[in-house]
Amino acid sequence: MAQARDELTVWIGGAAGDGIASAGESFSKACTRAGYHVFAYNSYQSVIRGGHVCMHVRIGRQKVWTHGDTCNYLIALNQDTFKRYAKKVTPGGAVFYNTDKFKASASDVGPDVQLIGLPVMELVGNQLMQNTALMGAFLGAVGLDPTKMRELIQERFTKKGEAVIKANVDAFDKGIDFANTKAKPAGVRIGASDGKPRLLGSGNAIVGFGAVAAGCQFYAAYPMTPASSILHWLAQYGPKAGMLVKQAEDEIAVINMTVGAAHAGVRAMCGTSGGGFALMTEGIGEAGMTETPIVILEAQRGGPSTGLPTKTEQADLFQVLGASQGDFPKIVLAPCTLPECFTLTIRAFNLADRYQCPVIIMSDLYLAERNETLEGLEIRNIPIDRGPLLTQWNGAAYHRYEDTPTGVSPRAIPGTEGAVHVAATDEHDEDGILISDVFSNPPARVKIMSKRMRKIEHALKELPPPQLEGPADAELTLVGWGSTYSVLREAMDALNREGLSVNLLAPRVLAPFQGEAVGKLLAGTKITLAVEANYTGQLARLIRMETGFAIRHHLHKFDGEPFEPRQVIDHARTILKTKPKEPVIVIAVSDEGLPPDFSPIASPALGAETARQH
């Protein structure tokens, strides 16, 4: 038997509707329960039935940061998947497929790759269970304990009754049997896990859980990929936690309902993607002007416009930073990991209440929809700070927008006796009385504007400071944000294991930008490489704008698929070894469907653009 490794990756591919997501999720959960670390990424298209879907599930004995770039095993539910990926399967691996669907021969795969074809109809008598039977064969061949997977199959079909459960468990067991009797043991095997119980969640579900933990009582949304799954999760769990979940007619209604609910005194949140956020824009300014605390999740997808609905990108940074006309306090947070999806969501609510302003959490498809193992979350002693919120008033004259040293004014909610006032989107004075219709009132305008803007200076002092991760005096500093963090983290670890010296900077706070602290960190670096899933390098531009520091080299990706660790590792290694004198700008592209003559060098336009930056 082959030597056990620290990790293995299986790709499960087929058409939408083949049950790939459910099989992949059950397998991910089974592995998590068995004590392995899991990272699952589903690459799919905007088609309900048919089309192509491929779920990448990587399991490890230690933390796995990404879905990786290796395919040890392929479960091909149709010929399309087989044709696309069979050659990618690494030596010692295997391809599992249904011989009723297509024929395969040894020349279709690389050396030392086993073809394990199951006659599904003959074996289980129902083509609908091919995913379950093939999954069984996979577990059998790689020698993974099937107990947890069996448990998951039972849980998944509980509502469908005993007969369905039994049929599926039988199909699964027959798959295992088939592998044990008809196939050779597979070569790529994973060693024993530590057996420690952990959690498995998606970025969206963990943000939703964070909102529940923060005592959020109102969530509104309009369906939009990749933010919809937070609506689904909260629709299921929210009401159990006293949260009212409302699907509205459009994102304009969504943001305005959220503002209304927050104005009435409950913690309120909404979620969307870039297109929906564009519609919400005016409402963000409404929250800023009326000083209403709200939290908005912006899960980015490929743009512009309708763009790539089911693909990932990080190109909405400037849209979010610039959302709504005028200057007003706004806080933008970008969690990098699943645990941060939890802690920063809770923090977002506290910041919103403390500074009475909109707080935006930026995520993207790769963070929102990945399923990843995480250590237990701290759910005791959740810090809740509602800021100066009043439900009673002492009878003195009440000024809603009182000019205080911090700029934050005590906020009475409707229903409070003695504190009647109007919250207005027109410019107003400390009492909330409109000054917009006055002929001209420069002093009042300057006073109230300064009061609002002052809040952000105070917020800056309490926001978590940016940090360099990895060796302080590294030769190369990787810079990125959001979901790209996990790729950079894996790349940094791999490069440092090679004996190179790399560290990482990923700001979690994007507004108000901690320019002084970020600038100081960057001033101490040697070579810098920004890695971003967008065309123009939006974070690098923001950093230059806020700190004057121009990041030297750039790696961009805007093909819809997330970065693969190899792409970052190879590029970073090249930079470290060749120490290029001129700035290097490279576009990474996933090799799926790549034209053979594609040259992964910067486009002339991008080169010219970035050259102007230096």
């Binding site: 998590t32 119980p197 959690l199 498995l200 969640g201 579900a205 963990i206 529940v212 933990a213 005592g215 959020c216 009582q217 109102f218 769990y237 009401p239 159990k240 936690a241 006293g242 949260m243 009212l244 509205a248 007619e249 459009d250 304009i252 209604a253 305005n256 309902m257 959220t258 503002v259 209304g260 609910a261 927050a262 104005h263 009435a264 005194g265 409950v266 913690r267 309120a268 005016e282 409402g283 409404e286 009326t290 979350l377 759910i379 959740i382 809740i384 409707p414 229903g415 006796e417 504190a419 009647v420 006032h421 109007v422 919250a423 207005a424 989107t425 009492d431 909330g432 009385i433 409109l434």
Partner: protein
Amino acid sequence: MAEVKEFAGKIKPDWCPGCGDYGVLNALQRALADLDIAPHNVLVVSGIGCSSNLPGFINAYGFHGLHGRSLPVAAGARLANHGLTVLVTGGDGDGYGIGVGHFVHTCRRNINMTYIVMDNQIYGLTTGQASPTTEKDIRTKSTPEGTIEIPLNPIALALTCGATYVARGFSGENLQLANLLKGAIEHKGFSLVDVFSPCVTYNKHNTYPWFRERVYKLEDERHDPSDFRLAMEKAFEWGARIPIGLFYKVERPTYEDEDPTLRSGIPLVKQPAGRANLAEIMQDFM
């Protein structure tokens, strides 16, 4: 019964002398006083426009929001605290133009709140452009050769979208208007009170005398407001005779009655927040 003056706001209205909106404000203050509602338990939400300035002129909590977005703000506030009396005020441009999508869906939702539209058939605050209720062939600043589009019918629209209390008032008939508003506030569900509120500056066509010659009261003709088909028929009556009064009223469970978090009757804002059993929910991730 409370005094009308309890609802007098800190600010004197700055509407044009003779504006129909004065009559609406008076009728609303009278209705609230008659219903003996404490000012601090009232939230008046508005959008943008002359009539949307009303929250500043009444003693009650107010939210003066964005153009056309008053209904979703009000819905959010009411769902967060259904102990409040929630009123929404605005004009025809705000509610039937830029905000008409929200109007359609708010009718459908039947959240218990009252929407008062001061319908002057013109854009006033932006100095006289055609509005969604401007009649055909009317010359305005934006339609110098006359409007080409036919006007929207707010009463018929509200009826088809499921509003459960649909009325029309005239600011020149203050007593009837106060009664219609009282009925709307007391009604359990979403109420629309569309009010002819003449713009004396920019609408030289639909003037007080124009309305006085034409309006008649539905109650005077023993209209049965429980009859949907009849209400629809009356909604399309326009020309020599124009009906004002209560077109339609029906009891239907409100959104608050059916939402799982509000069924208990306790307003969300009064329910303890963060009482979730996190350990139990976390099982979902295991």
